[in-house]
């Protein structure tokens, strides 16, 4: 009965569903974006183990505008309490050219411990050695993507590339990794000795970072205190001066990133909730119009023995069917949109099962909630008054 009534007014049925369709599609998109943000956070930190501690320069405010943090500080930190390993790196971007090809890549200046500590493997050639650091050697290890882009399958080791304005000899090519170090994808990076980077290639443009690991996650606090003491001493900071470095442990970094991903998800959920609310009001409107139009029918139904509950149920069913159909269409649109948006790289999205389930559930709830009042009104109409209306 409800179905037939809805089919009789196709345009109106569709228009009143539109709100729900958009609402549910939004819910699904929102969850996909939230999931995507979560996944990109995870990807960013996937090769950062829980026991790592990161030290970065703190430019501070006012007169202490410079930081004395150097990649070489890493060697000092090896003597800090509970520190198992330490490696210094400097990151930046630079134009890299070979032959007629030139492109911008991430440049990472590292010490001899970096490649091993970061779980990177050299596929061809050799790693950066301690002697390269000492000699400020003009050498580079390149990521897989860089090798493919510049050398197109030809052996790269032994060739000379230009990074910025400096000529560097390639000594190694890394295996494909797919992960990131800081903000730089390793596959798209040129790795050079830290001393070379600090002196000539990156200079002041580089972002210094010291990566250390603690012997046990439980000792993170103790290690942090020890690192602070060593670095303050090394940088000759007075008691009233702020630290010119920041210490971040992996646990709190991941937590902070996840918290911000969660904030994003909450915000988007609020938007979706508002969309559904507005669509619900739309449905209520349409149901009121429908009830007004069918007043006479309500009178007839009552005269032939329809109970209030029968009439309530009929109109309620109509609004539920309406919102449920909208929910299903919205779900389909949402699910189809995710791969399309991802394909064009417009946004990081990952489909989740929560999104469709929640979207669908809410669409039904909206139908019940906003359909109830018009249906209740209909069921309370006086039969004789209703019969008299045209």
């Amino acid at each position: 009965m409800s179905f037939e009534s809805l089919l009789a007014k196709k345009t109106r049925t569709f228009l009143s569903m539109l709100g729900i369709i958009i609402g549910v599609a939004t819910v699904i998109a929102v969850f996909a974006v939230g999931r995507g943000a979560q996944e990109s956070v995870n990807a960013q930190f996937q090769n950062l183990s829980a026991n790592s501690i990161l030290i970065m320069p703190n430019r501070g405010r006012g007169f202490t505008s410079s930081s004395k943090l150097k990649t070489a500080d890493a060697q000092l930190l090896l003597s800090a309490d509970h520190i198992a390993s330490a490696t210094g790196a400097i990151q930046g971007n630079s134009t890299v050219s070979y032959g007629s090809t030139d492109k911008s890549y991430g440049v990472i200046g590292v010490d001899q411990n970096f490649i091993t500590l970061s779980n990177l493997t050299v596929a061809d050639g050799r790693e950066i050695a301690a002697s390269d650091i000492e000699e400020k050697a003009m050498v580079a290890v390149i990521g897989q993507t860089v090798a493919t882009d510049l050398f197109a399958g030809q052996p790269a080791v032994g060739s000379t590339i230009t990074v910025g304005s400096k000529k560097l000899e390639i000594i190694g090519v890394l295996e494909k990794l797919g992960s990131r170090i800081g903000m730089i994808s390793v596959d798209e990076a040129v790795i050079i000795p830290s001393s070379t980077a600090e002196k000539s290639v990156l200079g002041d443009r580089g972002q210094i970072m010291i990566m250390t690991t603690v012997d046990n996650v439980d000792n993170t606090g103790l290690a942090t205190t020890s690192i602070t003491a060593i670095l303050r001493n090394e940088h000759k900071l007075k008691a009233n001066q702020e630290d010119d470095f920041r210490i971040m442990d992996a646990g709190s970094m991941v937590a902070a990133a996840q918290a911000s991903a969660k904030t994003l998800a909450t915000l988007l959920t609020a938007i979706a909730a508002i969309t559904l609310l507005v669509s619900g009001i739309g449905i209520m409107n349409v149901m009121f119009v429908t009830v007004a139009e069918r007043t006479k029918e309500i009178g007839i139904a009552k005269a032939i023995g329809g109970k209030r509950s029968d009439i309530l149920l009929q109109f309620l069913l109509e609004s539920i069917i309406l919102s449920m159909a909208g929910g299903i269409i919205g779900m389909i649109i949402g699910q189809v949109a995710i791969p399309i948006i991802s394909y064009f790289n417009l946004m990081t999205m990952a489909s989740s099962t929560t999104g469709p389930i929640l979207g669908f559930t809410f669409s039904v709830l909206v139908g019940i909630f906003f359909g109830f009042y018009p249906a209740f009104k209909a069921s309370r109409l006086d039969p004789v008054d209703a019969l008299r209306s045209e």
């Binding site: 009965m1 037939e4 009534s5 009789a8 006479k296 029918e297 007839i300 139904a301 009552k302 005269a303 032939i304 023995g305 329809g306 109970k307 209030r308 029968d310 039969p383 004789v384 019969l387």
Partner: protein, 240 residues
């Protein structure tokens, strides 16, 4: 065993008043103390001037209106003050069948679905109610048109569908408000033919009409004037 005085009468009204109230609170009395008794199996026509309260009286008998004052005995039980929707809907559904001047069919539904609707409200399973509806429609010569919508049927055919609808729950009482009022004379005769069969089936019929041609089919005519019963056994003056 106690036997009520009203036992012989399926419908008995005692001093029934019905007033409408305007928005400003002014009372418009429509029925001003109606007394009437209708026996089981009787075919009664209600006649009277327009505005005399015929339809209001029928709506009261049909439990569509609450009384303002008075008593309404249905099968000996005073239901005049019953307000409970469930009980009233049950009476309208099972004990009575309503037939209207304008047929009042659901235009979106086929004849079959229209007829089956009261049985749906009665809680009958789909197969059973459609079988009943089919039998009824066949009995009035509508077997070929059960899937037609009301707009695809003539007035006479629509009224036959409406009559079937009133019968689907096998009610004791048939209430009809000008059942031939919107029909040509031939269709009107066909409808009255069906009405005379109701009597043989033992049903009580209460029919509102303003034409003697139709009223003559009734066993008795109740004549209303100005909200009161003028004559409980009105005799038609003409030769009908």
């Amino acid at each position: 065993m106690f036997i009520s005085m009203t036992d012989n009468f399926v419908i008995k009204l005692e001093n029934v008043h019905k007033s409408y109230y305007l928005v400003n609170g002014e009372e418009i009395p429509v029925l001003k103390g109606i007394n009437l008794e209708i026996k089981k199996g009787e075919f009664v026509a209600i006649m009277g001037e327009s505005g005399g309260g015929k339809t209001t009286l029928l709506n009261i008998i049909g439990c569509l209106h609450p009384l303002t004052k008075g008593k309404y005995f249905l099968d000996g039980e005073n239901i005049g003050m019953v307000k409970d929707d469930f009980t009233l809907a049950f009476i309208r559904n099972k004990k009575m069948g309503f037939i209207f001047q304008q047929f009042n069919l659901f235009s979106r539904f086929s004849a079959l679905k229209n007829v089956a609707l009261p049985a749906l409200y009665a809680g009958l399973p789909a197969g059973e109610r459609e079988a009943k509806a089919k039998t009824l429609l066949s009995s009035v010569g509508m077997a070929e048109r059960i899937h037609h919508k009301p707009t695809e049927l003539s007035g006479g055919q629509q009224q036959r569908v409406a009559i079937c609808r009133s019968l689907v729950n096998d009610p004791e009482i048939i209430l009809a408000d000008e059942p031939t009022g919107a029909l040509d004379s031939k269709s009107g005769l066909e409808v009255m033919d069906i009405f005379t069969k109701f009597k043989k089936q033992g049903r009580t019929v209460v029919m509102v009409t303003h034409t003697s041609e139709v009223a003559k089919y009734a066993d008795r005519i109740i004549y209303l004037r100005d909200g009161q019963v003028l004559d409980n056994d009105y005799k038609l003056k003409s030769k009908y």
